[in-house]
């Protein structure tokens, strides 16, 4: 088994940069969303297609990022 069709792309979610990494393992597409600068994992999802896996990851990322409270300093 190998990761095939490996791809990384950056998107913005609620103003935060998000890195989407996706690839196929066998018949299943896997996607990981992380917040680019600190690099912490936000979501790990699977789907029958890349689009489905990415959509799930982005939905979860949006839920989590929506909880981030930005303060004025």
């Amino acid at each position: 088994m190998k990761a095939e069709e490996y791809q990384e792309r950056k998107v913005e979610v609620l103003g935060w940069p998000v890195n989407l990494t996706s690839y196929r393992l066998g018949e299943v597409f896997h996607c990981k969303a992380d917040n680019v600068s600190p690099g912490a994992a936000l979501a790990r999802t699977t789907g029958a297609t890349r689009e489905e896996a990415e959509k799930k990851a982005l939905e979860r990322a949006e839920q989590l990022l929506g909880r981030t409270h930005v303060r004025v300093v």
Partner: protein, 287 residues
């Protein structure tokens, strides 16, 4: 390898592909996301969970010595085994594991340059099989607390202003705009940074493919903020894993002798009653 001071602490994905089944070598995956290993890993690699196997699960601390010895023995690791650790997020918790292994005196422990990301991107073989190694004998030394900074040492360094302090979190965590990486739970009462700290986010030490930048690039990166090995350095982040990555860079890739990881980090400092906190950005060390 890229003129590093201790190139023996780093191996390439090619090296791992060729040596993963060597009897005196053990490959271990340590991820932030502990489900990543189950998805597929380097054939023959063990998986250690940072949040249950690499820390004291009762009090906040590194793995107690007896439990560390048990983890090594049950992983088939002897004192003379070459251990290669890799993981996601460009080896965050792989570096954390390496830091603990160094504290307990393991001589030959290395990181796989580029970590899990590079292995996947290169389309290398993955396995879901979990190895069952024969039990080994293991005797730890230490812990070597010269590799670790505790709160009193950080407070003393702050008072004396005689050490470099590197905050490796993101700029917005450093300024105090956010209290944790975006999307993660806030684990402190106050935002900001330890007064006098320089903000050099951990990720700046890495190339896009997850590998470490060259020694010249790293020397320039840290030197621009006054971190040049001429005085002791304390690295910190939120809980100590990102800073163990920077600790590895400063100690083994650049060869700075006196570098400690303050694993109490902002989760400790940002909750302390009366601790001095600086907010906002700071001027460049060059200014």
């Amino acid at each position: 390898m890229a003129n590093y001071s201790h190139p023996e602490t780093l191996v390439s994905t090619d090296w791992v592909a060729q040596h993963a089944s060597d009897p005196k070598t053990r490959i271990v995956e340590v991820d932030v996301d502990t489900k990543a290993y189950d998805e597929g890993h380097v054939p023959g690699a063990l998986g250690w969970a940072w949040n249950s196997q690499l820390c004291d699960t009762v009090r906040r601390d590194i793995l107690p010595k007896a439990q560390f010895e048990e983890l090594m023995a049950s992983s088939g690791i002897s004192n003379d085994t070459a251990v290669v650790i890799y993981g996601d997020n460009n080896n965050w918790f792989a570096a954390w594991a390496l830091w603990q292994m160094k504290m307990y005196g393991h001589k030959d422990v290395r990181l796989m340059n580029g970590g899990r990301k590079k292995w996947l991107a290169e389309g290398r073989e993955l396995s879901k099989d979990v190895p069952k190694p024969s039990r080994a004998n293991y005797k730890a030394t230490g812990p070597d607390n010269t590799l670790r900074a505790f709160l009193p040492e950080v407070q003393a360094a702050l008072s004396a202003r005689n050490q470099g302090m590197v905050d490796v979190r993101s700029p917005q965590e450093f300024t105090g705009e956010i209290l944790a990486p975006p999307g993660l739970p806030e684990t402190c009462q106050r935002g900001g940074h330890i007064p006098g700290a320089r903000n050099i986010p951990w990720g700046k030490a890495c190339n896009d493919d997850g590998t470490f930048k060259s020694a010249d690039e790293l020397r320039s990166l840290y030197g621009a903020e006054g971190i040049d090995g001429s005085k002791p350095v304390i690295a910190y982040c939120r809980i100590g894993e990102r800073s163990s990555h920077t600790w590895f860079v400063l100690k083994y890739l650049l060869g700075y002798d006196n570098v400690t990881n303050y694993d109490g980090s902002w989760t400790e400092w940002g909750n302390l009653v009366g601790a001095p906190v600086e907010k906002g950005a700071v001027a460049s060390a060059k200014a």
